[in-house]
């Protein structure tokens, strides 16, 4: 393990207490809503913020503990990429990338040569003499990545590295970042509020809400079996806590959901919005999961319309725009919603 930490910080009303460990070559995503304390954790790992308790062990070195050990940021072997790149505006791109080598005593020609090689690697050959202000957002973030990696740090910290980019650029930079992270031998921690970043880039996901870890695991596990509403919403699921008995789950909020397997005890029921069908009249046949509900908000969502439903079982349904029009739905309309038992995921709480 080249990064092991427990971070305890009290910031106003937010009490952060997060434990994490990242192995060599591993990428850990810290996923959470704004204000959950993700960036605070990262700043403590970097040494930019002194925590109130806990410890940080970087590559076997105790760089912070509650007693008196506090290695300042500039003495830690780490690289950091910030949300809005923070390339120094008064230095050329090459000088920016060479900066970390120069501060560590590398001579100018050698530092510039190394910077040039890294700029090649991130696809920025030929822009080295430009100022950061002359780069596009994607180019700037690539240069920032090169700047963080040039010193071959043991730990790479990425603070929302893609969220300042427009959607199209984000796609390409994400793919490149994925490639560089795969090549990277040290431990990487990625802070993001975008589940796609976490799913695409990380080996493991730590979900942080209100300063606490609420779920952790491999990305696909987190995506399939969310344990909080926040994660469920992020991955596009409706999460219903309940108690299982046989092939039925009695929901905490009232209502019963039929499932395909035998369950018992406290469970989560997860429903994908696209598996929910809407009807104006009670559907014929005998689907077991049918509820009369009321349409709340309806918002276009790509090629579908996302319908929030209220009633006994609060659900979200994705229906195609055509179907939505044919049903003639408007907020407040009474509808019947049905889900096949086999489409419902159920797992222990």
């Amino acid at each position: 393990m080249s990064l092991v930490a427990r971070v305890v910080v009290q910031r106003g009303s937010l009490a952060v207490d997060v434990e994490l460990s990242v192995g060599d070559g591993e990428v850990l995503a810290v996923l959470g809503p704004n204000g959950a304390g993700k960036s605070t954790v990262l700043r403590v790992l970097a040494g930019l913020l002194a925590p109130d308790g806990g410890q940080v062990v970087l590559d076997g070195d105790q760089v912070w503990d509650s007693a008196d050990r506090h290695v300042p940021a500039h003495q830690r072997s780490l690289g950091m990429v910030f949300q809005d790149h923070l390339l120094f505006p008064h230095l050329s791109v090459t000088e920016n990338v060479a900066f970390g080598l120069r501060t560590r005593g590398v001579r100018r020609p050698a530092a510039r040569a190394a910077a040039g090689r890294w700029l090649d690697r991130v696809g920025l050959a030929g822009v080295g003499e430009r100022r950061p202000g002359e780069l596009s957002g994607g180019q700037a973030q690539r240069a920032a990545l090169a700047r963080a990696l040039v010193g071959d740090p043991r730990v790479l910290l990425l603070d929302e590295p893609l969220s300042a980019l427009d959607a199209r650029t984000r796609l390409t930079v994400r793919a490149e970042l994925r490639r560089h992270l795969a090549d990277y031998a040290g431990s990487a921690v990625l802070v993001t509020h975008d589940p796609i970043d976490a799913m695409a880039l990380a080996d493991r996901v730590l979900v942080v809400e209100d300063g606490r870890v609420v779920q952790s695991g491999p990305p696909d596990e987190v995506a399939r079996r969310p344990r909080t509403d926040y994660v469920a919403r992020l991955v596009g699921l409706v999460l219903l806590p309940g108690t299982g008995a046989g092939r039925q789950v009695a929901l905490d909020g009232g209502g019963v959901v039929a499932v395909a397997e035998e369950v018992g005890g406290p469970v989560f029921v997860a429903v994908r919005p696209e598996s929910v069908s809407l009807y104006l009249d009670r559907p014929a046949g005998s689907p077991r999961n049918v509820w009369p509900l009321t349409l709340g908000a309806a918002t276009p969502h790509g090629s579908v319309v996302r319908c929030d439903l209220t009633g006994e079982v609060p659900l979200t349904a994705d229906v195609t725009a055509t179907a939505f029009a044919e049903l003639g739905l408007a907020p407040g309309a009474a509808v019947w919603a049905s889900v096949k038992a086999s489409e419902v995921a159920v797992y222990a709480r």
Binding site: M80, P89, T103
Partner: protein, 269 residues
């Protein structure tokens, strides 16, 4: 957008009239100076003995005062803006006192501390035989005392406005605070420092009361342009006008020169 345009263009009368009066108030005296100038006598007046000396002394001492202010004031501004030193607000208040202090009080205070009988001045005289008052060095000290707060205040403002996260980025790249200051902070706030230095220099160039109180009025060593202007006004108003014009021209030229190079960029950045 188009609905807002009339509002952007028009200036309401209650604002326009005082604004025009203010412009007139600020510009008319300078215009009067130009109008009343004895242009035909300009050559002889300027080549009179003492004029060149006073001008040179003014420029040299104002420049030296600015250099001292930069060397001491920029670090002070950093301490005020960035450090966690306790009692920073008290410190800032103390530093800005010379801004509001009547310069004559400053001159008297300097005299009491640095004069031959002063706390530090006596020790200085006894150990080195050097007495500060009534020397060119005293002019520089008086000007620095009055002008440095202008530099400190404007550099501190620039530091506060600069994005401190660049310094975080530098720290993650292995730069200690001193390296960060030299290689990141200083270049980032350079326009602010330049603006502060110009302000400081202009204030030092015009400094009169503290200088005459602490350094006296000796042609060649402590008689700067403002002192020469004031004395000339009592004997020979035409000479005073000419000297004033010279000061005005020097100030304007400096302002214009630096505006193009530094201030304009600083204002838009």
């Amino acid at each position: 957008m188009s609905r807002r345009r009339p509002r952007d263009g028009g200036v309401p009368a209650p604002l326009l009239v005082p604004a025009l009066l203010a412009v007139a108030f600020l510009v008319l005296p300078l215009a009067g100076l130009v109008v009343r100038a004895p242009w035909s006598e300009l050559g002889p007046q300027l080549t009179r003995p003492g004029v060149g000396e006073a001008l040179r002394l003014s420029l040299v001492s104002a420049t030296l005062a600015t250099l001292v202010s930069l060397l001491l004031g920029v670090p002070l501004a950093w301490v005020l803006a960035r450090s966690q030193v306790r009692g920073r607000s008290v410190l800032r208040a103390l530093v800005t006192v010379p801004l509001v202090l009547p310069p004559v009080v400053g001159g008297v205070a300097l005299f009491l501390v640095l004069g031959r009988q002063g706390v530090i001045g006596r020790w200085l005289f006894e150990t080195t035989g050097f007495s500060l008052p009534f020397t060119t060095a005293a002019v520089v000290v008086a000007e620095t005392f009055v002008a440095m707060p202008f530099l400190v205040i404007s550099v501190e403002g620039a530091l506060r406005a600069a994005d401190a996260r660049f310094e975080d980025a530098a720290a993650t790249l292995g730069a200690d605070r001193w390296t960060t200051f030299r290689r990141v902070t200083l270049p980032l706030v350079a326009p602010g420092i330049a603006a502060g230095a110009v302000l400081c220099w202009a204030r030092a160039l015009g400094e009169f009361v503290a200088t005459i109180t602490f350094a006296g009025n000796f042609p060649g060593t402590t008689q700067t342009m403002p002192l020469a202007v004031y004395l000339a006004l009592q004997r020979d108003p035409d000479a005073a006008i000419v000297l004033s014009l010279v000061l005005l021209a020097v100030s304007l030229a400096t302002l214009l020169l630096l505006r193009g190079r530094w201030l304009g960029r600083g204002a838009t950045a």
